[in-house]
Amino acid sequence: MIGILASIIDGILIGAVYGLAAMGLTLIWGVMNVINLAHGAIVVIGMFVLYTVANMLGLHPYGAVPLMIVFGFVVGIALYWVGVHRMIGRPELMSLLSTFALNMVLIGLGTAWWTTSPYNVQVSVPSVSWQGYTFTGTHITAAVLAVVIAGLLYLLLYHTRIGKAVRAVATNREAAELCAIPTTQVLAMAFGLGVALAGVSGTLIATMFPFTVLSGEAYQLKSFVVTVLGGLGNPAGALMGGIALGLVEGLATPFMPVSWIPIVEFGLFVFCLIAFPRGIFSFTKA
């Protein structure tokens, strides 16, 4: 019984980070109807930023978090202008391919620079033990930071002018244009924001597990599942969807071999796509 509880708690902790990763994806999708297939590559960038900051520059690992947010924002805007701007309004296939092309370029450059060998960053944070089970400090810190950042995003979107502009463009671009909102710049910033969120989730993941240039793909797939669970364009839904996914993983683990869990996840994914196209948590869309 306790084992199951421990498993669930662990699942929720990781789930918060999944949710953070998915928030970036769902924001971009909701605002500009673009599915960012470079999402995985950006998560990887976040991981290597941690490596660079902690192992190569010798700074405190968690210092990489604010660094990544800023860096991710800048990179996101750059990527927007390079690959996404011309795709707005065009058929979805085009933006899928365009972002996928960006993904290939980023992963290719990453492979050339770091190769596909595993990397690890040692982060020591005191852990919490309970009834023989230990919750590692890095997992707890990552979950806490994920929720904090999600909270900051909420404040940004609902209590600042820029957030209002983003929401306006997401709702109706032409109307926003008529209200003298510089929509192109807002789109670029929204993309930058989405990339920053994805990147920082990579940084947090890297504090917990070893990674390679190819690790991002698994998290991208999980982000798709979470986005579909939480509803498109709904960041709060994404966080809840992430925690829900973590919960599913935690609940399932004691009862089945670990290798069966992805089947459950993808089965759930296809099921939700067909049965709940608006997401399970759509009623919380603010």
């Binding site: 085009m94 089947i263 067909i274």
Partner: protein, 320 residues
């Protein structure tokens, strides 16, 4: 269809493609041509769904992988000859595709694309956990399996010829569909599905048919390819990256045309093969491919053939 020159052109090209390495006994060339032929099969069948009907099948590799698994299973466990085994694989995968298609084809646009990824990943994980098919280890062919084709060396040649036959069949099928009422219906669905439906095109039926049809030849090609490789395992049989590269090939050559995907597949594979062994460049294969795709999607969405058609309109007649 046989009264037009184009199909004969395909057959002539296929004969040349098959027999040139055979008569020069160039094994290295045969190996790279074989790989290119497999990609041509994948790309031109994918084109039926993407280029004609406008549905992006991101998980198209699942047909290839499942076809491979069924064929190898029949060969190793039930000792079938590879030719009927591959054919049965093709039929079985088509039937499965019809089943899945009925479920996911009601989704539109990006949702459909994501669903195909979900299907691929779910099937990959099912196979990983399925012991009769070797689980994560996969199926290894013992060398006696080549005995039915006259030993390994002979078997490699025979498999090559068979794959070229499948390639030619894919291109001919592409042409036949394009010039049929079915093809017109698909193109209408690709332009505007609701309008097509209103105008009397049986959209659910056509979509399911094309999705299922696009699975048949790649499944056979999968069976033949993995037979030649002697080994099949989940990570390479259901590799999402290869799946997406197939889409790149279709776009590169010109989506919706017949020669376009074939050309795109051939060029892309040759580029990859070159980069694979040119030590200094092997890391950059992905970067170059990605940059290429980015440029095409943004500036030349019609691909190579689209660009040619634009600049030399007369070619539209004969270079499809």
């Amino acid at each position: 269809m046989w009264r037009r020159p184009f199909p004969w052109f395909i057959i002539a090209a296929a004969l040349l493609y098959a027999l040139y390495p055979y008569f020069t006994d160039d094994v290295g060339l045969r190996e790279s041509l074989l790989l290119a032929a497999v990609y041509i099969v994948m790309a031109s069948n994918l084109n039926l769904v993407i280029g004609y009907a406008g549905y992006v099948n991101f998980g198209n590799i699942v047909f290839f992988g499942l076809g491979g698994y069924i064929c190898l299973y029949l060969v190793t466990a039930l000792h079938w000859n590879v030719i009927p085994a591959a054919f049965v694989g093709g039929v079985a995968v088509s039937a499965l595709a019809l089943l899945f298609g009925l479920g996911i084809l009601r989704l539109r646009g990006a949702f459909f694309a994501l669903a195909t990824i979900g299907v691929n990943q779910a099937i990959q994980q099912l196979v990983v956990n399925f012991e009769p098919w070797g689980g994560a280890t996969g199926i290894y062919l013992s060398l006696d399996s080549y005995g039915s084709l006259g030993g390994p060396m002979q078997a490699l040649w025979t498999t090559y010829l068979l794959i070229v036959v499948v390639t030619a069949a894919s291109l001919l099928a592409s042409y036949a569909v394009r010039n049929s009422k079915f093809g017109l219906g698909l193109l209408a669905i690709g332009e505007n599905e609701d309008a097509a439906s209103v105008l009397g095109v049986p959209t659910p039926l056509y979509k399911a048919m094309v999705y299922s049809a696009s699975a048949f030849l790649p499944a056979i090609a999968g069976g033949l390819y993995f037979f030649k490789s002697g080994i099949i395992e989940p990570s390479s049989a259901f590799n999402l990256q290869t799946s997406i590269e197939a889409i790149v090939m279709v776009m590169l050559g010109g989506s919706g045309t017949i020669l376009g995907p074939a050309l795109g597949a051939f060029l892309y594979e040759e580029l990859r093969g070159f980069l694979l062994t040119a030590q200094s460049f092997s890391q950059f294969q992905l970067v170059i491919a990605g940059a290429l795709l980015l440029l095409i999607v943004q500036f030349v969405p019609g691909g190579l053939l689209g660009w040619v058609h634009q600049h030399w309109p007369k070619t539209r007649r004969w270079l499809e």
